[in-house]
Amino acid sequence: MISNQIMFILFSAMIIVFSILTVTSRKILRAAVYLLFVLVSTSGLYFMLDYQFLAAVQLTLYAGGIVVLIIFSILLTSHISQKFEPTGIMKSVFSAIASIAGAILAIITILDYNFSATAQAAKEVDMRLIGNSLLSVDYDGYILPFEVISVLLLAAMIAAIVIAKRGGPEKSELPTLKQE
């Protein structure tokens, strides 16, 4: 009981501190590493909620895949030691006011609402159940979103290749890089 709460406080403190560092850090590579810490603590929260499969997916796909992709593109597009200019005072003040106001509004609503848990027994989420529901056409099945997501992944893969590859030979004559 108590150890649970200590773990939750630890994970949420890590998430909040590192998310704020992610959006305020002036070195881009450090921002990416802070984002990695946020994603790993989020997967810890998933473990606390007893969704082991999703926590593993979060670790491999987010922390392992997306962060590596982001770090690669950072290394391709900027100097490692490059620092951003600080954001304008007015812009950061107004953005902070907007987001803090939104957060306060949402938190008040959450704390005000009376959530009622069901008396139904919890379902054991194991791999067999996940696989069966993903591929079943019954009432509890998710075959349609599964197929949609596979088509989306294929389309995204082809799109990424088509966008990122260099243009054809007739385009390479044009001056593509604008020198500073």
């Binding site: 992610t22 951003f84 939104g102 799109a159 604008k178």
Partner: protein, 105 residues
């Protein structure tokens, strides 16, 4: 596992994370850091879905599968966005959104 923690704590945590992402999206001017803010926002939504699923509807799996699909969408979004970023960098030699103001090529 999650006994002793009210569902509201998870929701408040996700709210703070979400609005941190919004703040980053509003203030950042670099395409990759804006992408990182979007990842923060998507993650906060995932925490919300899972907390609702575990606490309010533990006999169903909707929240879990929705989070799974959100993770897949976030992955494909990151792949396409980074391809676009690299293409923009090739053409303009910068990824600052204020310097990229023409779509013609």
């Amino acid at each position: 596992m999650s006994t002793g923690i009210p569902v509201q704590y998870f929701l408040v945590l996700a709210t703070i994370m979400f609005f941190t992402g919004i703040y980053g999206f509003l203030t950042r001017r670099n395409l990759i850091t804006m992408l990182m803010s979007v990842e923060l926002i998507l993650n906060a939504v995932n925490i919300n879905f899972l907390a609702f699923n575990r606490y309010l509807y533990p006999h169903k799996l909707e929240g879990m599968f929705f989070s799974l699909f959100i993770i897949a969408v976030a992955a494909s979004e990151a792949a396409v966005a980074i391809a676009i970023v690299i293409n923009i960098y090739r053409r303009f030699a910068t990824i600052n959104v204020e310097d990229v103001n023409e779509m013609k090529h």
